[in-house]
Amino acid sequence: MKESVGVDLTGLGRRFIEGLGGLCGFEERFHVKVDEGTGEGYGWVPTMRPIAKYIEYGVVNLDKPPGPTSHEVVAWVKRLLNVQKAGHGGTLEPPVF
């Protein structure tokens, strides 16, 4: 991916990984087994995915209004975002609500 050339992907990836637990109060420390970086030209730091991929691999913490069922809301969001797969409440089918 041309846009990633020159960016410190290993550093950004490490920051993302180490910040993940903190999003939900999970404390952990990482130990390095093999001190190795990541290569350019494949994959993305999750926050830097191109927008279509970002949505495909995304989750929304949605404030569902009372009334419509979760199934109905999932169907709306699928159409809104034009994605094939969507689930809710913890399935790993992205996006998840």
């Binding site: 999003l23 939900c24 130990h31 970086g37 494949y42 970002y54 989750v59």
Partner: protein
Amino acid sequence: MHSSKEYVCVMQLHRHVAEEDLRRVLREFTGAIYQRPPLRSSVKRSVRRRNVYEIELLEYSGNMALMRVSCDAGTYMRKLCWDIGLMLGVGAHMRELRRIRTGPFTENLNLIRLQELSEAVYAWRSEGREDLIRRAIMPGEVLVCQMPKIVLRDTAVESIVNGAKLAAPGVAMVSNRVRKGELVALLTLKGELVAVGRSLMDYNEVLEASRGIVVEPVRVVLEPGLYPRAWKRGEQGRAP
């Protein structure tokens, strides 16, 4: 994912009871409880055991009780209210319910309304602005924030995606929370969720191992073809 849930719920008692009686019964419904799913439910209606971790009585006035309940997934609040009423001998039913947490998703973690999501999509489709949508949607990786993590070397990624087990030489980093027999998230060095699996080692064993299977993946998430294949032709399915 069978994550725990948290609710705020209004229960209407059919007759007034003393607050101390209510509190006593709420304590009885804390811990392991047995519940038969209600008539209108999407699961088999056999009695099941669920854990109620906490019931906090927030307000009690007239016949109305406002409570915060944290419990296992699959605990029915409507049923809980009904059973509390039964135990109190006066009857009760649920008036209102709001879920305030599913697993790691609290009301503080980037909660958005449908309206905001649709505005973000509009700004992106009609004006090409991505910032709103990137704020509304989070990377799916947040799903595993509460799971211990193992970070893969680039060369191990594609073989895991193709169904291989993770062997010790494929590990770049390991979290001190990794425990034998428990679920772990496998990430790339860039931070992408590759798979969720069951760890066969504690973290210190992972650090020291030079060979052997470390994790048996149970669910692959990353798409194939993103990372380079590091194994030779004719070796598909073998551990890296």
